[in-house]
């Protein structure tokens, strides 16, 4: 782990309007989702972000790649403050941070072929040799090149998620956010996608933030782990240390909740 910091997040706060309690006139009250998050991600790190539902892990991720604008605090990416950057100013930087989404059925446009889905970011960011790069991305994720002309609904769940990964790595980003990317897959596809991700991290030297509620996945993949609880950081440490000796009560509860194989004598 080098000291080269790719993400520096300080006291990040973000809230949503609570439309359910909006008075007839005037602004809706706001619900604070992130309550002052501090984190640093070093280049080449694979960071796991865990927490129960509603802990704010997806919101944090979407704020990091500026799909959401924070209320206050700061996000520095490669040393540049992107906290309140306008969309137009962000656009040229977009190739530097990409995202892989949870549900590949929803994140791949059903009316575009795999080829044009992967080519999309490349064209928008003004890359040359788009076609060759699409082939390269498909090779990286282990999909045959003839899949370029397929539509997403013709692929299996695992293959779709590979297309999502191919799209994310095609622009050679410095950072990729993976938001619950294996939770919609069956166990064998999960294993394959995780293997692929591990391999890509090694080969391409990716920096990855991996959001999940599945601690066993995090333990396998990530060097550092952040535990979120109700919009606050509970722990942010080396994964091995965190799993062996959890400091916070909430982390302990999470670890205890991992289902262990509980075989009956008959099977053993």
């Amino acid at each position: 782990m080098s000291d080269d910091v790719i993400y520096e997040i300080e006291n990040l706060r973000l809230s949503f309007p609570d439309m359910a309690h909006k008075p007839l006139f005037g602004a809706a009250p706001r619900i604070e989702i992130l309550k002052g998050i501090d984190m640093r991600i070093a280049r080449g790190d694979v960071v796991g972000i865990v927490g129960g539902s509603g802990s704010g892990k997806s919101t944090l991720g979407r704020a990091m790649i500026r799909l959401l604008e924070p209320d206050s605090g700061s996000i520095r990416f490669n040393g540049q403050d992107i906290t309140h950057l306008e969309e137009t100013a962000l656009r040229p930087m977009r190739r530097r941070f990409q995202m892989i989404f949870q549900d590949p059925m929803s994140s791949l446009n059903p009316r575009q072929t795999v080829g044009s889905i992967i080519a999309g970011p490349l064209k928008l960011q003004g890359f040359d040799r788009v076609s060759a790069r699409v082939d390269q991305a498909l090779d990286h994720v282990g999909l045959p090149r003839r899949f370029r002309s397929r539509y997403p609904h013709e692929l299996s769940g695992g293959q779709r998620q590979r297309v999502g990964i191919a799209r994310a790595i095609a622009t050679e980003p410095d950072f990729i956010l993976a938001d619950e990317i294996v939770s919609g897959l069956d166990v064998s596809s999960q294993a394959q996608v995780l293997n692929l991700l591990e391999q890509l991290v090694r080969e391409l030297g990716l920096t990855l933030a991996f959001i999940s509620h599945d601690l066993s996945v995090i333990r396998r993949l990530c060097q550092r782990t952040m535990v979120l609880y109700r919009g606050e950081v509970v722990e942010y440490r080396d994964t091995r240390a965190l799993f062996e000796a959890p400091e916070a009560e909430y982390t302990r509860e999470l670890l205890d909740a991992i289902p262990l194989p509980d075989l009956e004598q008959v099977w053993a």
Binding site: E87, R91, Q98, S107, G120
Partner: protein, 283 residues
């Protein structure tokens, strides 16, 4: 997998071809009405009034579908009536579709104040009773083809706006839209390249439906004598006139009614058929 898909495709194919066949026939008839029509649709002959269609006794082979109570040829009048019906269907349908869909897309995708403005407008618009509203419009603008088209557009754009808005909203919440944003696509461009293709099947179905509705609206307005000048034959005015002599000459009412029915049915089936045939997700 292959066999089930083939089955669906065959069914869609038959539906598409039958409806398209009727509509093509109708377009040809409308275009070449002066050449094809056996009689002048306006020529009256009181001595040949209420002649029955060709298979009944006492029929005249010059009037295959009989004559009305003024002795005008029913078939020729249906052929010329197709011109009005099709112009209204095409022009009014497309105009309504474009205006309503654009507003619906903007409201559904951009949300915020454009949505507030457009949605309120739709709500207010829909509070007017449509038939009364159209009669009022025609009364103000005067009769004529243009007025009918404007009446259809003014009344029915809300149908598109509402449906397309809801559709654009649900598509806008999909991750592929977020992904396009992460890739650096501009918002307006996302609306056109990501959302629109996914809303297109709905637009096509609505458009063909709207064309059918436009034909019916024209017929309704003819029925209350507010369509084109009374000289030009339209299906609606034929139905209205046929109603008066239904006990003596049912064919004056029934044949234009069949033409109207087949056209509206074909238009709606055409939309469904096109969707089944050309939607890559269903194919």
């Amino acid at each position: 997998m292959a066999d089930a898909r083939g089955l669906v495709k065959r069914r869609a194919g038959a539906r598409l071809w039958l409806s398209a066949g009727w509509l093509v026939l109708l377009v040809l008839v409308a275009l070449f009405a002066p050449l094809l029509a056996p009689q002048d649709p306006l020529m009256q002959d009181l001595f040949a009034a209420r002649l029955p269609p060709f298979w009944a006794s006492g029929a005249d082979p010059n009037f295959p579908l009989g004559t009305d109570s003024l002795g005008r040829d029913v078939l020729s009048r249906i052929m010329y009536g197709a011109r009005v019906a099709l112009s209204v269907a095409l022009i009014a349908g497309i105009l309504t579709c474009v205006i309503g869909s654009v507003l619906g897309l903007i409201a559904g995708y951009f949300r915020g104040w454009p949505d507030v403005v457009i949605s309120r407008l739709v709500d207010i618009w829909m509070a007017f009773p449509p038939v009364l509203f159209s009669i009022l419009l025609i009364a103000v603008m005067g009769t004529g083809l243009g007025s009918i088209i404007i009446a259809v557009v003014v009344i029915d754009w809300t149908r598109f706006a509402r449906v397309i808005r809801a559709e654009a909203m649900s598509q806008g919440a999909m991750d592929y839209v977020a992904s396009a944003q992460v890739s650096g696509r501009k918002r307006f461009s996302i609306m056109l390249t990501e959302i629109l293709p996914n809303v297109m099947p709905t637009i096509v179905v609505l458009l063909t439906l709207e064309m059918g509705i436009a034909v019916i609206v024209e017929a309704i307005l003819s029925f209350v004598n507010l369509s084109i000048s009374t000289d030009d034959p339209t299906w609606g005015s034929m139905i209205a006139e046929g109603r008066l002599s239904i006990h003596q000459a049912w064919w004056v009412l029934v044949f234009p009614l069949i033409a109207l029915f087949l056209t509206v049915l074909s238009l709606s089936q055409l939309g469904e058929g096109l969707k089944d045939r050309f939607d890559p997700v269903l194919r």
